[in-house]
Symmetry: C2
Subunit: 348 residues, 2 copies
């Protein structure tokens, strides 16, 4: 089942970059790491027009392409060289689901946001020879990676736009991510990660349902905001949209990603001092928050934004809440495009 989902037909075309062996922050090693990525537009001679856009939880480069990239968009394929990179564990890059034994499935090492960003740095600098990215952006876990990029490699990031995500996980967000993990691991078919393909469908459905109950807004459900997508009632929407999204995915992959999400913390770049870590950022910074977001509330995002010198907080709004990221609300996407266009037009 998962092989019918994680492939070029569904998510491609994408390329694979051999990032070699990666020493992990956890102390282990990921051998022969492959990063799946897709590019759009052309890299100019000065290599000054590159944009890096890593994926969010359970997403691949394909949804980023469909929702954010194109001529006339902020991520304009006529002007920029856009690299959509799949985070480790998402099923296209090296993941529990596509790694041969002995490091497959539950034996795949735990990855951190910092591991991802160090691997992406190899792709950007070694493969493409880019010294400084015009923009790094991402939503949710993509925002976590964007924060990490700007704080870890301040000279390599001209502009950064973390969307709907924080640099350091809050206590509540950690608890929320943990409930997503437990919805899967509580399914006895999960069997410590040594399940047969497709066996954990109950856990994946449970995960989808707790995700849906907090990922969207109350108003979306109460005003039948999903009707424009052709769904007929709450159950039809939750099954047809959210369970449909998660059911073909691999449980170990999702758990790896959710743990990475849960444990994200840029402050460890400065010994636990978040202000010092964010103070390292040299990029022009537009921090984008969705007012209705329950996963990453405005208040928490704003508290971090204030720690970044010269940054701007940009508020957007959607009845889709956190999951407006999916590209389901054209008005939200237009507002984000306008912010990104403004940021890209700012000399940096």
């Amino acid at each position: 089942m998962t092989s019918e989902y994680y492939n070029q037909d569904v998510h491609g075309p994408f390329d694979l970059f051999d990032a070699g062996d990666l020493e992990l922050e956890s102390g282990g090693k990921l051998r022969g790491l492959k990063l799946a990525y897709a590019t759009f537009g052309k890299l100019n001679a000065e290599k000054s027009n590159a944009i890096l856009f890593p994926t969010w939880y359970s997403g691949t480069s394909k949804i980023l392409e469909l929702a954010y990239v194109g001529p006339g968009r902020a991520l304009d394929t006529d002007k920029y060289f856009i690299i959509l990179v799949n985070q480790i564990g998402n099923g296209l890059s090296s993941s529990p689901s596509n790694t041969p034994a002995p490091f497959n499935a539950a034996a795949f090492p735990q990855i951190s946001i910092g591991d991802d960003v160090r691997a992406q740095y190899r792709l950007v600098t070694e493969h493409f020879g880019i010294k400084r990215l015009a923009l790094v952006l991402g939503g949710s876990m993509g925002a976590q990676q964007s924060w990490e990029w700007a704080a870890r490699y301040p000279d390599a990031v001209a502009r950064v736009a973390p969307i709907a995500g924080t640099a350091r996980e809050t206590a509540h967000n950690r608890l929320l991510a943990q409930t997503f993990i437990e919805a899967i691991t509580n399914d006895p078919a999960f069997d410590d990660g040594w399940y047969a393909d497709g066996a954990v469908h109950r856990g994946l459905r449970a995960h989808a349902r707790v995700f849906a109950a907090s990922g969207f807004t109350q108003k979306l459900f109460n005003t039948r905001g999903w009707a424009g997508l052709g769904f007929t009632d709450t159950e039809d929407f939750v099954a047809g949209f959210v369970e449909n999204h998660f059911l073909p995915q691999d449980p170990n992959n999702l758990i790896l990603l959710a743990r990475k999400w849960r444990d994200a913390d840029v402050s460890r770049l400065a010994g636990g001092d978040l202000a010092a870590a964010l103070g390292r950022i040299k990029a022009k910074t537009a921090v984008i928050a969705t007012d209705e977001d329950v996963f990453f509330p405005l208040e928490d995002i704003e508290a971090e934004q204030k720690l970044v010198p010269g940054s701007a907080l940009k508020r957007v709004s959607s009845v889709w809440g956190h999951l407006a990221l999916f590209g389901v609300d054209p008005a939200w996407n237009s507002a984000v495009d306008a912010i990104l266009s403004g940021l890209l037009a700012t000399p940096a």
Copy 2:
């Protein structure tokens, strides 16, 4: 285990009212229904000083007593005769956990908010001979029962104060209640409700954790708002406070209550017309909403309040969100007491 929890030592003293056989809205019958209740203060000669206060999800009359009742409080035991009534299925009144075979456990019939209120009406009118209650109030599922009382028996309710709850479930709230149910039923030890006592502890913990992630506010976790209760970190608080609350309870009881919560709908008193159903209310009505409540958002509560002629919306606030109801935030309780005192002082 459950017998060590649902008893007079933990939740008493309480009395049992034999409500007889109750024809259920679902079409079935509950035989020999017992309602557990506790009273405080004295009923006056005119029987005009009675207050009815039904329980919320997973609560008993004891927590209502501890958090809301006493001399000098709005529910002043020197002035009022206060009846704290346990809803059907809460483990003290007739419930899956305390009913003998064949109607025990999973064979206990499904109850509605309307069934509860009709049974409580017998207690109030037949047992106490009260024709008109000075006040009906309740929080969360208690608010659902309060709404039902005011709309079903408009001449028997002088004042009503639904706190943090709606008269008709919204689509989102239904989904949320369903995730609580599924957290329990997804535990294979649940076994369609035919588990051994204590066997469903994993499901009860999962239920507690998804409940905690949405029942409180993000800010409570992120600012360690639980520190005043002696907890040391997020896990300690979630286990020590929330899991500790649910673990001794009976899974079938909780599921019965959550289904009752999920399906509450006063509009059925007027053929599905909510405005008509709420238009029946003659009571002086103070609708109380907690600004930070995610279970029952201010917006949804206000939409219903506007349908009640002459009613007032009263907003309160707490970092504890919906679960401020528990009596953990003295400022919230003081604000609610002031609203209730004002309502009780209003001629009706």
